[in-house]
Amino acid sequence: MSDNTAIEFRDVSRVFSVKHENQSGEVRAVDNVSLQIKDGEFFSLLGPSGSGKTTSLRMIAGFDRPTSGQILLYGQNVSSLPPYARDVNTVFQDYALFPHMTVGENVAYGLMIKKVARAEREKRMDEMLDLVQLPGFAGRKPLQLSGGQRQRVALARALINHPKVLLLDEPLGALDLKLRQQMQVELKSIQQRVGITFIFVTHDQEEALTMSDRIAVFNQGKIEQVGTPAEIYEHPQTPFVAGFVGVSNLVTGPVAKRITNSDRTFSIRPEKIHLAASSAEIDGDMYAADGRVRDVIYLGLYTRYLVELDGGGDLVVVEQNLKTTSMDVMKVKSQNVRLFWKKEHARYVGG
């Protein structure tokens, strides 16, 4: 066990028993997960709702306990410690600010509980408000703030104790797109400045790709793949990852066999596919497939084509509008085309 592991999951499971209309059963919210998160990492738990990512986060925070397995924080088994005995802090999805306290009291709450002297408390509270770019907000009440400002207060409050690990539960979910993108950049820069391990839960694959050093993709309580954003995007190891992270074409069975001479399932990203006239000559290091353009969607920056393959199945193709205009791209509709892509861009996934 190397000492630069911040969080380790050892065969962690969390099983909920459910009763529904006289039927009782169990839900394996987290199913035998093992995972290592390194010190100082920006690590994302990515997955659809109900995939176990939030339950995993809550078990690290101590709001929930594993049914079996162990969770280690810097080598110490914390599985059964209450939240207040763990050196971990959380930024909540709904911010969970205390409405009866001022912004300053909210931020300094952790220090007040630790009985830090008032002068020291206020000094560190000011530092934190500076860090999240809310200087001078100490006297306001949370209800007087905008969503983005509350978000920053929640972050300052969680960071003031200098936790070993900061947990963020979909903290940007309630913000609008522009603000979200701005906060993504800012969160990342704050993380680099404070040097604390961030564990970030999100269902937004783009957000995870933008911010993370590494990502764990969750599906039905299990981890499908752990890797850097580039690994996850370029080398999805399972059909689920290929489909969930970015847009992917999954080609299976006989259609795959017609293209690659093998019936192994592969995924191909829309932007890796090129469109050509149906008579075009294709190099030997390329795979090719013939089809008919069923739909053309012009999106300004790029155009999305839906191509029906002759052998059955559809492929989504995306091309940037470098030289083409909307008039040009529309002409392709209902035409027969040849699609081609580099052989190495086809990724064999699972099964």
Binding site: P83, D94, P99, H100, Y109, N161
Partner: protein, 274 residues
């Protein structure tokens, strides 16, 4: 209440006139008897109710206040109300916390059974308490009155606190624990300020309920006379009528004002919570 209702456009004018009259009629019907009590508190009549009063005087007020039987009854009632309210605050808050925070077998039934004493006719609660207390061979006393009152006082506190819990984000408690506060610190710094006004409002309502309770008291008291029962017994003695009226007026003031205050409290905090 009437003045807060936004006035409708011309189409609704006639019906709103009718509604106003109906509302006024109802209010008068409810309040005229009360005002009569107030007026008779100041009449010079010794024993009869004549209207209009032949003359007005303030002499009954010091006489009523100095009456030792009335004083005994008042202090007994206050002690009962304080203790019943205190018990209700503790038990009601605990019950509300349990029902809000945990899922357990029979939760719905327990919640229903808690609220039942307020919904049941007092006479039923009274009979039930009386037989239960005699069965357990507990002598009827001051304490049995407190227990009887506590059964319905708990309900008001429970309802108020539970409603407040449901409006408070549960993540606040988690956030507090997350920042290093144990259960006691979290209760003190986060839960209590959140439910504070609900507790105060519940306490005031419970106090008022206990203060003028007659039916359950009749069944659970020994030879003690609480103020409402004392007033009732005085109605049979025509001589003391003005003193009884003064006492009744004091009871109205003692119970109505806190209830108005409690309403203000809950209305105000529900505004600021949003």
């Amino acid at each position: 209440m009437l003045s807060k209702t936004p006035s409708k456009q011309s189409s609704g004018e006639r019906s709103s006139m009718f509604l106003k009259l109906a509302a006024l009629g109802t209010l008068l019907f409810l309040h005229i008897p009360l005002w009569l009590i107030f007026i008779y508190s100041f009449t010079t009549d010794e024993s009869a109710y004549t209207f209009p009063p032949p003359g007005l005087t303030l002499k009954w007020i010091p006489q009523a206040i100095a009456n030792p039987a009335m004083q005994d009854a008042l202090f007994l009632t206050l002690r009962v109300a304080f203790l019943a309210t205190a018990a209700a605050l503790i038990l009601g808050t605990l019950a509300a916390s349990a029902v809000y925070r945990y899922d357990f077998f029979g939760k719905e039934s327990i919640s229903f059974m808690l609220v039942l004493p307020l919904a049941l006719p007092g006479i039923v609660t009274g009979i039930a308490m009386r037989s239960a207390i005699s069965l357990m061979k507990i002598p009827f006393s001051f304490w049995t009155i407190v227990i009887g009152h506590a059964t319905f006082c708990v309900v008001v506190v429970y309802n108020n606190v539970l409603a407040r819990f449901r409006r408070t984000a549960g993540s606040q408690v988690e956030a507090s624990m997350d920042l290093g506060a144990n259960s006691f610190q979290t209760f003190w710094h986060i839960v209590l300020p959140n439910i504070g006004t609900a507790l105060l409002a519940g306490a005031i309502l419970a106090f008022s309920l206990s203060f003028d309770e007659v039916i359950v008291t009749t069944f659970t008291a020994g030879n003690q006379q609480t103020l409402p029962i004392w007033i009732f017994s005085q109605m049979l003695k025509p001589r003391n009528r003005p003193i009884t009226n003064v006492t009744a007026m004091l009871v109205v003031l003692l119970t109505a004002l806190p209830i108005l205050f409690a309403q203000q409290l809950t209305a105000h905090s529900s505004d600021s919570d949003k």
